[in-house]
Amino acid sequence: MLSKKQKRGALKALVHLAIALPALWLALNWYYALNYMPHELGFNPQETTHHTTGDWALRILLASLLVSPLARIKKLRSLMQFRRMVGLWAYSYVVLHIISYVWLAKYLDIGEIVADIIKRPYITIGMLAFLMLTPLAVTSTKGWIKRLGAKTWQKIHYMIYGVALLGPLHFIMMRKGIQMEPRIYMWIAVALLLLRFIKKRRAA
């Protein structure tokens, strides 16, 4: 029989693996593609990489915001132990998304990247979301909670609500014409924030 600790460890490893799958899929298929082997990245592997990393960054970010509402349900209380992990994975996919942009789309041309950030609002917003998310990732450890004090830490981490709206906004603005898919992300983000607002009102 596995001990409680072992079970928790195994479960965590599984969650890690599940969230890492899209990144592993990308890495494997890039290996194939660069070796002129059959791959699944489609006709435009660079674009597929931008989209895959961006989509999963958003999905995992929204999933991290779903953790605490679900953990209010008594039986699911143990979910809280995954929140930090999911949040950090969201940040990891954002970093991959930015690497994809900086390298595959811009070939490290700093001038062009700066021009993009200034001129193109959807990139400005995407970068802003990244900048807001970075301190949250850095201060996600127990040590930082202690150093900052729980109250200050919590205040800083409320920034995630802003990021949750900026991410889908970045997606909506990136798409040409009026499209549904990015709007669905926005609705989910708004719903997740409203859920908190309602809970708080009730508590007050």
């Binding site: 002129y36 699944e40 489609g42 674009e47 062009e112 001129k119 009026i178």
Partner: protein
């Protein structure tokens, strides 16, 4: 009577030296080719739309320096923007087979002597088809090289005897909610409208295409007849045309109506004028790893720069 000719660009496929060169220019294996396990250029049916048997066409070869850079057919027919069939790049190849392309009628209206309804075969003289290997540059910053088959647009337009009031020519795509699932979405206003200034339309480079890669156009590429304006961003090259209208004022295009700041009427490929969403300095040639520098007028300045002499291309973007 169609005479079968083996086009020069196909002959070069068998040439070992050329094959090696083509390979060196491609960094990735094309997805559909990989799935099918065979070269797509061989004419293997790859998508739903290809279920319609695409007839081989007889045409005058257009082999040129670009022949070596021709994009894999599987990419040109599997990676498309045709929003009437969905906004995803693979949606048109999946969905466009529902469009009925024969018989095909085109309405001709406006400032011309011979208005009326014309059958595709009244418009296109299939005995004078020629191949044109052109660069295709999408505003989204990807590009291809496609061997189109068609007739110069001027050969069609002059048939109708345009009057002196005809300053622009406007085109419309079929908008059939039954066969086009994308029409139910509000992504753009339908029918899709595009237009050219009369002198742009009459320029010898402007092609009305009925085929590509030696055969008829697949539905997802704008069957049975589409425009190809190689020095402009791809959305100017309107697909599956059902209406040609000669007008005196600059037409309001679908993309221009969505955002005129983003999609100007001229939409000439210009690396110096950025689109608000995308820098246009470089492009991703499909099949290559590194991006290429984008050429002014997509490399066709010699033929078309004259058309815009004295115009501010930043203002008239």
């Amino acid at each position: 009577m169609l005479i079968k000719k083996k086009p020069t660009w196909q002959l070069s496929e068998n040439d070992v030296t050329d094959e090696a060169l083509m390979h060196s220019r491609r960094d990735f294996m094309m997805m559909a080719a990989a799935v099918a396990g065979a070269s797509a250029i061989g004419g293997v049916p790859l998508s739903a739309a290809d279920e319609r048997v695409l007839k081989a066409l007889a045409y005058k070869s257009g082999a040129n320096d670009l022949s070596r850079e021709i994009t894999d057919r599987s990419a040109a027919t599997g990676y498309n923007n045709f929003y009437e069939f969905g906004t995803g790049k693979s949606d048109p190849a999946k969905n466009a087979h529902t469009m009925k392309v024969s018989p095909w009628t085109v309405e001709v209206e406006g400032h011309v002597e011979k208005t009326g309804k014309y059958d595709l075969h009244d418009l296109i003289d299939f005995n004078t088809l020629e191949e044109r290997i052109y660069r295709l540059r999408c505003v989204e910053t990807w590009s291809m090289v496609v061997p189109w088959i068609g007739v110069p647009l001027s050969a069609i337009l002059s048939k109708f005897n345009p009057t002196s009031n005809a300053k622009f020519v406007q085109f419309e795509t079929l908008a059939d909610p039954k066969s086009m699932p994308g029409i139910s979405s509000r992504v753009l206003s339908w029918p899709y409208v595009e237009g050219l200034r009369m002198d742009e339309a009459m320029n010898p480079l402007t092609l009305m295409a009925v085929g590509m890669y030696g055969k008829e156009l697949p539905n997802q590429n704008g069957a049975p007849m589409r425009l190809v304006v190689p020095w402009k961003y791809g959305y100017k090259s309107i697909k599956s045309i059902v209406k040609i209208k000669f007008v005196s004022k600059q037409p309001r295009t679908s993309w221009g109506g969505y955002s005129n700041r983003e999609y100007g009427f001229y939409s000439n490929v210009n690396p110096e004028v950025d689109h608000p969403r995308w820098s246009q300095k470089t492009e991703q040639r499909i099949g290559e790893f590194r991006r290429r520098d984008t050429l002014m007028f997509n490399g066709y300045g010699g033929e078309v720069a004259e058309l815009y002499k004295g115009m501010d291309l930043r203002k008239n973007h």
